[in-house]
Symmetry: C2
Subunit: 228 residues, 2 copies
């Protein structure tokens, strides 16, 4: 049995640890640059250092933390150039997914996509950034899966995860929520039409570094980078 791309959700202590710590990072409960003490985590989760180390290795492999030899683990704190590279890579991967999704999604998938789009509406109307972020993620995930390529979808998810601590900053303004929702609509239409090039282009514009979303993001960034 060869599972490709999927996150290996084993049943060991190490796997649970991994997801627990990951949660703390992507939700921002532990800040970028913050130290992750092995012994501390061990007592906190009631296990020995061994599974803790395994979890940290895994997080480092996905770029969520940085593991410096003999100097311990810290939550990854990318510089602004790093963040630009991450967003750019994200753009490439997401637009690739969108293109393939346009080629491969079929009627039922389209229906589900529109469902997920409509599910974003309440959050837009309420101006609830957190709720919108979650609904937005589900929509994007549907596109990843719609690409019909577990490898590409896996890499894209990994990147999204890596950016998660910063992504929420993008959606602070009600104006951006509205724009994002409209962009989703155009994207879904392109996918439904099976127009691969258009879908690629619209996804690119949606998450790309040349869009206003990223500019807004950068504008809000310094506050958090000072903290690290």
């Amino acid at each position: 049995m060869y599972t490709i791309g999927a996150r290996s959700t084993g049943h060991h202590a190490a796997s649970d640890l991994r997801t627990a710590i990951e949660e703390d990072i992507v939700t921002g409960r532990v800040a970028p640059g913050e130290r992750l003490d092995e012994a501390g985590l061990a007592v906190r989760f009631g296990v020995s250092r061994t599974p803790v180390r395994e979890a940290l290795q895994g997080l480092a492999a996905d770029g969520l933390i940085t593991l410096r030899p003999r100097r311990g683990a810290v939550v990854a704190s990318p510089t602004i150039p790093d963040l630009m590279a991450l967003f750019e890579a994200m753009t490439e991967l997401e637009s690739a997914c969108a293109g393939l999704a346009a080629r491969r999604m079929e009627a039922p998938d389209h229906a589900r996509l529109w469902d997920l789009w409509r599910a974003c509406l309440p959050a837009v109307r309420a101006g609830d950034a957190d709720a919108y972020y979650d609904a937005n993620v589900r929509l994007h995930e549907a596109v990843y899966d719609g690409a019909g390529n577990p490898v590409l979808a896996g890499d894209t998810r990994r990147l999204r995860n890596r950016l998660a601590p910063y992504r929420r900053l993008q959606l602070r303004s009600p104006r951006r929520l509205l724009a994002s929702h409209a962009e989703h609509e155009a994207l879904a239409a392109a996918i439904e039409a099976g127009d691969e090039a258009l879908a690629r282009g619209r996804m690119r514009g949606h998450v790309g570094v040349q869009g206003e979303a990223f500019t807004d993001f950068l504008a809000r960034l310094p506050d958090t980078l000072r903290a690290g």
Copy 2:
């Protein structure tokens, strides 16, 4: 210090182990599906099981091996659909690199790119598939780096590594060597011209699943899949 994308070449036993085992896999010295015994590797490398396990975790994170809970590690043995997904993802990532490289590489980079292209010639003339493969890798790596995006380059490298055990099959025929070399020339020309769309398209055609290269690859595959 936040190194992004780069393989963490630490100085621990674990890191050395990791690269040693990785070598065995990508060069095909250990076949897909083959079991990797922790204790065996430990005695073979003169270390305890702990660093061995760390190395295996890392390899699993990169998809080179499969780690089944309580059942040990085996070299990844993707099915044909898996391989198609891997190649397709590779196509997307490589063409993205090519596009960015077209936008960002400058004169000295172009010169180096042509140097690497010329360095492929002897192997083409000699019909030496292994030598050509190595020179070919160096050329592609130059494109990854030329993209100026360590994240994208890192993901692309990881994928290439994952496919390495199978890639050599593509280059068995002298005819393919010649074709590949010509495709490289066209690619380099597009990059030098700064034509992003053209570079993307040519890279896509070069590594893509619709090309004859992949067809040849599939045709040669059954022999090796039977072995696993």
